[in-house]
């Protein structure tokens, strides 16, 4: 599914936090959103995920409204809400929402538990987990129903370096195998260079560059070059 943002504007207390005239996120690509704090990255992601409404403008999903895409798209943040239930039930929730058969749910959840190496947490209450464990469960839950679009805000902010590799390879795999469109907000420039095929660079609520990843390092923009050097 491709995503188009047209004339999006969002303000809080009369301060414009996001102003995007036109943006096209290509189907089947991993797109990274980079930029300093307060540049509007999370606001833009939440608008794409229909979690907040823009003051003006619209987002199109394959040229259509959000309602046509709502059950094929998901948003995961570094502190996504986990249900007050076991890890197993948390990962199973999206499948239960879709009235999947019990046998399929068990098989799929076990598969994800194995992938994310969280078998030892299977029957733990999700609210008792550490930040990194919660992040893995959130990601596993989001992947359970194989969404066409995966919006991820800081996917590995609390995760040990050895698991970051695992998560990155999982994201690459689903992008390659299932052609999942992935949009990632990250502060980690090295990660975005490793993972993403395209980069959207934001500053002061505006997109200042949208380019294939390999072109980012040689950007004409001095601010972007400095940002990459420092991160």
């Amino acid at each position: 599914m491709d995503i188009k943002l047209k004339n999006i504007k969002k303000a809080y207390n009369n301060k414009i936090v996001l102003q995007v005239d036109s943006l096209y996120i290509k189907k089947g690509k991993i797109t990274g959103i980079l930029g300093p704090n307060g540049s509007g990255k999370t606001t833009m992601m939440k608008i794409i995920g229909d979690l907040i409404k823009p003051d003006s403008g619209r987002v199109e999903y394959d040229g259509k409204k959000f309602e046509t895409a709502s059950d094929r798209l998901t948003y995961v943040s570094h502190n996504s809400y986990l249900f007050n239930d076991t890890v197993f039930e948390n990962i199973a929730a999206p499948l239960k929402f879709r009235d999947m058969k019990k046998e399929y749910i068990t098989k799929r959840v076990e598969e994800l538990i194995d992938n994310f190496q969280i078998g030892y947490l299977r029957y733990e209450n999700a609210l008792t987990l550490s930040g990194g464990e919660k992040q893995k469960v959130s990601l596993a839950r989001a992947l359970s129903f194989s969404p066409e679009v995966l919006l991820i805000d800081e996917p590995t902010s609390n995760i040990d370096p050895n698991f970051i590799k695992l998560i990155e390879s999982t994201l690459k795999k689903i992008n390659h195998d299932l052609k999942t469109t992935i949009v990632i907000v990250t502060h980690n420039t090295a990660q975005s260079l490793r993972l993403c095929q395209e980069i959207i660079f934001m500053r002061d609520g505006k997109v200042i560059q949208h380019t294939p990843t390999e072109n980012l390092i040689n950007s004409d923009d001095k601010f972007i070059r400095e940002f990459i050097k420092l991160n």
Binding site: L51, D71, R72, T74, Y81, F83, N84, T128, R141, A142
Partner: protein, 238 residues
């Protein structure tokens, strides 16, 4: 000092004697408080959830109104109820004055704002978060509703038990609308007030002990329930 000790001894004797009048008063208290808590929860839980989660103009004003009503003086509620249900009032023809039904109405008016206010205050952020996560995971309205209730179950329980505690310990409103009629509308709190004014400390203390025991049982139930819940719901101050 000795009258207090004598009172306590007499109280236990009275409790153990299974006095019919005492136990009918206890049962009526539980019935009236239970009924008003159920009515208040049926109204207050959905109202608190809806107004808490939904963003709308005038929400701040509404929260001020809720908090004001949470501290309603019971005698004022009793007075308002009497004015409505007394023989010359708008509902006078129904003949509710000095009946347990009138007491249930008065207690419901007192408890509903408490249940609503607790749910409203505590569901604002969490409720929105639950709805958002359900949306991102593709839940429909029915699934989202049941998930919301399930996730906020401890909060709903806290609000309900707090409401029950308020109802069973209330004296002013039920005295005015019920009239403390022996064998008909006499409840624990009105009985204690009356016995105390008559100098019958033993029966007052006996009833006080039973009242405390009921409150203790309700709170123990809540404590056990919330301790088993890793959410360990923390009620925000308002």
């Amino acid at each position: 000092m000795s009258y207090i000790i004598d009172g306590v001894i007499e109280a236990f004797k009275l409790i153990l004697s299974l006095d019919k009048e005492i136990y009918s008063i206890v049962l009526l208290s539980i019935y009236v408080s239970f009924a008003s808590t159920i009515i208040s929860s049926i109204i207050g839980v959905p109202l608190g959830l809806f107004t808490g989660i939904k963003e709308f103009k005038g929400k701040r004003l509404l929260s001020k109104i809720y908090y004001t009503f949470m501290g309603l003086p019971p005698v004022v509620v009793g007075l308002v109820t009497v004015l409505i249900i007394s023989r010359s009032g708008p509902l006078g023809s129904v003949g509710l004055i000095y009946t347990p039904t009138a007491m249930i109405i008065a207690q419901s008016l007192l408890v509903t704002p408490i249940v609503t206010g607790i749910i409203f205050t505590n569901s604002k952020d969490t409720g929105r978060e639950i709805i958002n996560i359900c949306k991102t995971l593709g839940a429909n309205k029915k699934h989202t509703f049941f998930k919301l209730i399930k996730e906020l179950r401890t909060l709903i329980l806290v609000a309900t038990v707090t409401g029950f505690g308020r109802a069973i310990s209330e004296v002013g409103a039920v005295m005015i609308v019920g009239g403390n009629i022996k064998g008909h509308t006499r409840v624990m709190t009105t009985f204690i007030a009356m016995s105390n004014s008559m100098g019958n400390y033993d029966t007052s203390i006996a009833m006080g002990i039973i009242l405390l025991a009921i409150s203790f049982a309700a709170n123990s139930f809540l404590y056990n329930r919330t301790m088993g819940d890793s959410n360990g719901y923390k009620i925000k101050k308002y």
